[in-house]
Symmetry: C2
Subunit: 207 residues, 2 copies
Amino acid sequence: MARARRNGAEDSVARTAILDAAEQLMLEEGYGAVTSRRVAMRAGVHAALIYYYFGPMDGLFVAVFRRRAEWMLERHAEALSSEQPLWALWDVLRDKNGALHLEFLALGNHRKAVGAEISSYAKKFRHMHLESLSTALGGYGVDGKSWPPVAVVVFLSSIARFLLMEQEAYDLDLGHAEAIEIVERHIRELEGERRSRASRSRARGSG
Amino acid sequence: MARARRNGAEDSVARTAILDAAEQLMLEEGYGAVTSRRVAMRAGVHAALIYYYFGPMDGLFVAVFRRRAEWMLERHAEALSSEQPLWALWDVLRDKNGALHLEFLALGNHRKAVGAEISSYAKKFRHMHLESLSTALGGYGVDGKSWPPVAVVVFLSSIARFLLMEQEAYDLDLGHAEAIEIVERHIRELEGERRSRASRSRARGSG
DNA sequence: GTCTATAGCTGGATAGAC
DNA sequence: GTCTATCCAGCTATAGAC
């Protein structure tokens, strides 16, 4: 495991402030706004400190991404362990906490270190989803020949994330309600009514 | 219609060279690499000329996007007029020519003018798809109550684009083959075997 | 239409004092 | 750990010569 940072304790106050500031900036103004100077100003520290903690800027981006991704992994694991894993996964995939994803996606396109990190986590998520849904769908008696679990995972992910993306980036939601209705109809056929909605509004603290 | 450019004929050689250079750069290195200097160098003109033709950089980005989008609109219209509109739409949605989309998406996030343009075209595409598929699905006797055409459009778009995105950005294709198989099974049930594959390899010239 | 020159700014990154 | 000072690079955008 390569260390992204060069110095400083994992739980240092300044380090956390820097991560929070970078994440906020990225969310509000895009990754182009995440410069050492602006992050430092927002975090209330001086720019040189960022290099002290994270090395070159890539290190900061990777650290921000990894922190988020780890937190999301936990939430997904939690969701999949619910007694209604399909509902839970669907809800957590549609969660707005994925808003940063788009930024990282683009960022990964021209920052190798970031791209590698994203790719690695994307695979972790897919494998995790697959493992749980294989069991669940098997239990529901779904024919794995015509509906392989891995395809179901891909469908759920595609639709959930794509709709979020369209809303976010295109301000477009024509057909979304109808599409969601169909997905949920199918989930309902397997798991019955959604019993508890995963706490959708729980946002990660940023300060 | 606001004019993005300030001067120069639509078909000027230099203007086209600049657009091509910008598009190539964006594809190869991301929009961050699209600076007036680098575009100029690649186009074999001088940087000031870009401002002459397109005004501030936003104008260049919008022009690149619009040129691509118009070309794609034509291709989609063509596809939808085929005698197998579902197959044709599915194929054209999965076409690699959408590779720039991701870049523009992120770019639109922090360049208002670009974002507005993207949003506008996204809606044009959706409406166009909807109109054609409504007719087609009706003709196939699909029950519009449980499978509204607009939902079908959203599904096809989501899956096609999301898979492309995963491949491109995540280097991830676990489950893709299975998902594609299911989609194509359903299309086949409505339209029979795919008779002609829309010329997938046709790439837009860039020089 | 095309190029030269340049003003003015912002950012990455480090050395070294404290 | 934190800050000061600084170097150097690259960018946008314009004015104005040709």
